[in-house]
């Protein structure tokens, strides 16, 4: 049964050590985790526990000090820079805590970008971007720039950008951190909806309430991970 489901994230014995002069700071300590196709997962932990560090490694933005990491059967640690860029473009969608929208581009242009980097035709990219924004209820804000949007709306633009290329994996770092409780619930509902449509989702959060709404939770504390709380 389990053999029929694909393992998207296969991270083993991951250490991340930051060197500060002679001092060494072990931020991730022997982290092993697997996320399967279609999972709706959260990584929960207090501030400073290493969540963002872990997400950056899982998202191929950073490399671990040691360990092994396969993303969708591809060995990330031996991949070259361009290959990693392609992986990020095609297999991963990021939702950043601060949204990280490009301030000079409007909503549609922001959402189009991953497709353009993939080499998709401009018209096609714009059409797809419009669709995604419409699905997320932003059909009347298509040409607004980020500073003309509310936090919740920016969040949805960021989500639209993350899923526009239909990536295998959506990584969201504190996606509700900057939102009030209503927008926060809306955002989680959007992720739920995306998950129902087959997206694999990993939400990183320190908010236990958010963690209650996902199917599976990894707990992280002082760089160590386990699958039971406490």
């Amino acid at each position: 049964m389990i053999n029929n489901i694909k393992c998207i994230i296969d991270a083993r014995n991951i250490d991340k050590i930051y060197k500060n002069g002679a001092e060494e700071l072990k931020v991730l300590d022997d982290v092993t985790l697997k996320v399967w196709q279609g999972d709706f997962t959260a990584i929960l932990g207090p501030s400073g526990s290493g969540k963002s560090t872990l997400m950056n490694i899982l998202g191929c933005l950073d490399l671990p000090t040691s360990g092994q990491y396969n993303l969708d059967d591809l060995d990330v640690l031996t991949a070259g820079e361009n290959q990693l860029a392609t992986i990020r473009n095609q297999k991963i969608g990021f939702v950043f805590q601060k949204f990280n929208l490009l301030p000079r581009l409007n909503a549609v242009q922001n959402v189009m970008l991953p497709l353009l980097y993939r080499g998709v035709d401009e018209d096609e990219a714009r059409e797809t971007a419009r669709e995604k924004l419409t699905v997320l209820g932003l059909d009347d804000r298509l040409n607004h720039r980020p500073n003309e949007l509310s936090g919740g709306q920016q969040q949805r633009v960021a989500i639209a950008r993350a899923i526009v290329g239909s990536p295998n994996l959506v990584l969201a770092d504190e996606p509700t951190g900057n939102l009030d409780s209503k927008s926060s619930r809306d955002a989680i509902n959007i992720f739920k909806e995306l998950n129902r449509h087959g997206h694999t989702i990993v939400i990183i959060t320190h908010d236990a309430e958010v963690a209650e709404q996902v199917d599976k939770v990894f707990y992280i504390r002082d760089g160590k991970i386990n699958e039971t709380g406490g």
């Binding site: 950056n56 392609t86 990020r88 301030p103 581009l105 980097y117």
Partner: protein, 395 residues
């Protein structure tokens, strides 16, 4: 990403930073305008030189005393006749020159006069505006006739040169009858100032005006361009033989071809000098672009991190920032060329010969783009090299 998309992304960024873009381009604008104008001045200068020399055959050789003043053993009409016998030489004419007071009624001016054999006129492209040329008859019968240069006739008649034909003038108090006025010829590089001279038959000048002070210059026309050197050698030999007292060293041989080349060269040197100034301006403005691009890269570090996170490759970031630098400098370049075009009439007003040219436009734009590429490359490369996670974390 497709190049077209990269361009659009760049244009959006530039468009929303119009003021900064304009300030960045100021140096490029000045530099490109300078290059454009330098080329215009250079082209204009060369055109002026060429136009000055166009009437002067490049095969002309002047034989003249090496030093001003008295020569122990002056050239004579016989020398000219001997020169003309060489197969390398088409013809050779002695010319006597002097300065004097020229009077016409109550008009008086200090001017030059030249005593010439009749053949001199056609070989020096002297053509008639009014009246007739000096003829063989005038020479042999020693007629005290004169033909005036256009400018001299103008001065004496206060702008009505036709009126002077048939009238009497005096040169150094000797009377002459004016039989014609030549067309304007310009300073044909001879340094003789034909337009300001009065021309009289050679023998008349020698016997009647100058007497023992006669010290002619001989203008020699080589048979063709290849004959210039052998003709000069031939002349030197003759002079050594016939003027044993002082030898050929008392005389100077000058050929028009090498003077033309020298004049063109000095025009070109001038252009190069100005061009160097323009390049310095562009280098300085390039450093300005580099500064701004560095600031831009710093400002947009998190943006670069985001772009990398959503899949931008190194070369796409490099391309984006390089295109931005080039577009900025190209815009500056085009504005510079435009300003250059509007400045040309101003230069003309100050009598600088400026001639706008395609090569000026191209050179200006080329340099502006090169400035963008050269000085934009390092910041762009720095941006491309950024590690995605460091860029994202940058505050």
């Amino acid at each position: 990403m497709k190049l077209k998309q990269l361009f659009k992304l760049v244009l959006v960024n530039i468009y929303q930073n119009k003021v900064r873009t304009f300030l960045t381009t100021l140096g490029v604008i000045v530099g490109t305008a300078t290059i454009f104008l330098v080329v215009a001045i250079g082209t204009g200068g060369e055109a002026q030189v060429n136009e000055q020399y166009s009437r002067l055959s490049v095969g002309t050789i002047m034989v003249m005393p090496a030093q001003r003043g008295r020569v122990v053993d002056p050239l004579t009409i016989k020398d000219a006749d001997m020169f003309a016998q060489s197969e390398h030489i088409a013809h050779a004419f002695p010319v006597l020159q002097g300065n004097g007071d020229i009077n016409y009624y109550n008009f008086s001016t200090r001017g030059g006069f030249s005593a010439i054999p009749p053949g001199f006129q056609s070989s020096n492209n002297l053509t008639m505006q009014y009246g007739r040329i000096l003829e063989e008859d005038d020479e042999s019968k020693r007629h005290k006739y004169a033909v005036l240069g256009a400018e001299l006739a103008n001065t004496l008649t206060d702008g009505d040169p036709a009126a002077i034909v048939g009238e009497k003038i005096t040169i150094n108090r000797r009377q002459f009858q004016v039989v014609g006025v030549y067309n304007r010829i310009g300073d044909a590089g001879s340094g003789m100032g034909y337009d300001d001279s009065a021309f009289i038959p050679y023998t008349v000048g020698e016997k009647y005006l100058l007497g023992t002070r006669a010290n002619p210059v001989i203008t020699v026309q080589a048979a063709d361009l290849q004959a210039v050197q052998p003709a000069m050698d031939y002349i030197t030999n003759i002079l050594n033989e016939t003027h044993r007292a002082g030898g050929a060293e008392q005389f100077r041989l000058m050929d028009a071809g090498s003077r033309l080349v020298a004049a063109q060269e000095s025009a070109r040197t001038m252009s190069l000098l100005l061009l160097a100034v323009a390049v310095v301006v562009l280098v300085v403005s390039g450093i300005g672009i580099m500064n701004v691009m560095f600031v831009t890269v710093k400002e947009r570090t998190r943006e670069i991190g985001t772009l990398k996170a959503i899949g931008a490759k190194k070369r796409e970031i490099l391309g984006q920032f390089l295109i931005e630098a080039v577009v900025i400098s190209l815009v500056g370049g085009m504005l510079g060329v435009l300003i250059g075009f509007f400045t040309v009439p101003l230069l003309k007003y100050f009598e600088l010969p400026a001639l706008p040219s395609i090569s000026g436009v191209l050179l200006g734009l080329m340099f502006s783009v090169a400035t963008g590429v050269f000085f934009g490359f390092y910041p762009a490369w720095k941006a491309a090299e950024l590690n995605p996670i460091d860029a994202l974390r940058y505050e």
